[in-house]
Amino acid sequence: MINTLFGRLLVASVLVLSLFLGLIAYTVNQLTLENAYETQQEKLRLQNHALLYSARISDNQIELPDDLREVRFDDYESGLYGFVSDIDGNVLWQSYSAQSLTFDSSIFQTTLNKPGTSQYEIVPGYFAYHHLVSWEIIGDIPQQIIFTVLEDNRPILENIDLLQQRLRLWLLIIGLLLTALLMLILRWGTKPLRRLALNLKLIESGVKNRIEGNYPVEFYNVTNNLNQLIDSERQQRERYHSTLADLAHSLKTPLAVIHTELDNTHNALISEQTQRMDEIIKHQLQRAVVVSPHGLIEAISIESCVDRLVSAMKKVYAEKHLAFEINIAENAVFKGDQRDLMEVLGNLIDNACKASNSKVAVTANNMPPGLNIEIHDDGSGIPISSRENLIKRGHRADTRYVGQGIGLDVANDIVESYNGKLEIAQSLLGGALIIIRLPQVNKTHGQ
């Protein structure tokens, strides 16, 4: 998946989205905590000041009324506790709510040293708010005392924890929704690319021979240029064929005249040389026109090519009353020039017809590592000792095996130009078996 454009964009988007949502979660969490602490600070400040305003000095002692404005000070273990202590941490007064509880004296020790100042802190289990005042409790000597309000922090922390859980859940839901939305956007955005890839695949598999459909402006030049490239390659090939066919015609007609005249004079040497010239022309022109296999070249159906050739052979070899057995797999296609395929199969089937007694069979299938075509005949076969020489490059025509003429050389040349291999074996029909093995051209990665 990481090798597809869609996969890459999706992974990158999900990573960015996760980072974004993570930062949001962190920020919201921090803001929530800060807000909770500040709210708590303000609340405790007000309650501390309420205690302060309620306090009075009577008989050299700090006194607070039994009925305080904040009822939680008077409720047993309410979670809100009020204290008045001296600067050394000795408790001078505590609310009813704190009566049954024991508090560490360190809670009441602050760093405050200036009357009128406050300190807010979180101590284990509590939020604490201290306020330092200087009152003349005994005589005229000012005495520093601290008003402290503690509040149990567990309910608040539990609330914050619950809030954080909900926040995570919502962020996860939002993340999933955004990921799904991103996938839809990416699919929509990359649709032209996928269509282009599909079109290229269809061209490779031979279903189409051009890139069709409307594409975004950004792709127009790419598709247009690809179509032009495919067209110009095809036209160039046709021009080559046409020019070389004309050249062959121009060279072979005078050769035909010489050849026919030689029938009358019986000059064996000149006859042999003109024959060789003819073969050289055929051979070299054929080799000059063979195309280089590539992915965008159209795929040719083996079946239709074999059908056309067999119909032609039935006419040419009508007197032999040959039986043809054709077994071509549907996916058997040739990635190359139709003329090359026709030339290879034409030569080989023609040879098989010449050599056979009554039956010729052609089979083809397209299984890894590539295309396999077999041509069988029930003739006398090709001796093992002759097989290698028959398809050796540059092998002389006059040493060829009877029934397997120059056609085998031409076929071998074409097959080799497509990086394929031509093999000769013994057919189960009793005669020769010619096997063509062609690799798959430009197999798309990941398919």
Binding site: H259, T260, R308, A312, V316, A318
Partner: protein
């Protein structure tokens, strides 16, 4: 047998014409596709040799037009373009066989003989009708095992009648298939050939090989359904 040769190259056309005449065929020649189409439309031929690379009308187009006009005689294509694409296109257009240039005349003769035999419904090089055997390759007729002494026109008349055994063949049809377009024709000559053939095949007039159908022509009666066999 009358053959049409359509070939634009003068030398090859003349070589083919000479070779075909040597085989005792009546030969007409055309130097381009248009002329070839005219001849093939106007005259009855037993076979045509057509070059694929013709001026005016291409060989493939000419063959297609002939087949569309219901001309059923066999067609042998000559092609310098030896690739299978062109051969297959020619055969698909309606040709029956091909010869690639440069060719040997023996090969052309062999292909023509095979095509003529096929068009007559026979695939073997000899036809037997009772005691009469005709070898279309060596152009020899035998009575029993004795070779008949026939002139080329007598042989051609016999072969044409034998190819059409059982059918009535008019004098005009015989004339058109025995003589080329530029030949001075005389229908009385046909009567002379038939008379000579009767005497040579059947001196005692017992077999009655060729009968006259009054007002219509001649019918070859030996084995109305020709019995084919391998040449001896």
């Amino acid at each position: 047998m009358r053959i049409l040769i359509v070939e634009d190259e003068d030398h090859i056309r003349q070589q083919l014409r000479t070779a075909m005449r040597r085989q005792n065929y009546a030969v007409d020649v055309a130097k381009d596709g248009r002329e070839g189409l005219y001849f093939a439309t106007e005259y009855p031929y037993d076979l045509a040799i057509i070059d694929l690379g013709l001026p005016e009308i291409s060989g493939i187009t000419l063959i297609k037009e002939l087949r569309e006009n219901d001309k059923k005689f066999p067609i042998l294509i000559l092609t310098a373009r030896s690739d299978w694409q062109d051969k297959v296109e020619g055969l698909e257009a309606g040709a029956d066989d091909y010869v690639v240039k440069p060719f040997q005349m023996e090969e052309v003769n062999a292909r023509i003989n095979a095509l003529l035999r096929r068009s007559a419904g026979s695939c073997k090089p000899s036809m037997s009708f009772g005691p009469l055997t005709i070898n279309t390759t060596s152009k020899v007729a035998l009575i029993g095992s004795t070779e008949m002494t026939l002139t080329s026109y007598e042989y051609n008349t016999l072969e044409y009648l034998a190819h059409n055994a059982g059918k009535v063949v008019s004098k005009t049809e015989l004339t058109e298939h025995l003589y080329s377009q530029d030949f001075e024709r005389d229908s009385n000559v046909i009567e002379v050939f038939i008379g000579r053939l009767r005497k040579k095949i059947d001196p005692d007039n017992q077999l009655k090989a060729i009968v006259t159908v009054r007002g219509q022509g001649y019918r070859f009666m030996l084995g109305a359904s020709p019995q084919n066999s391998l040449s001896p």
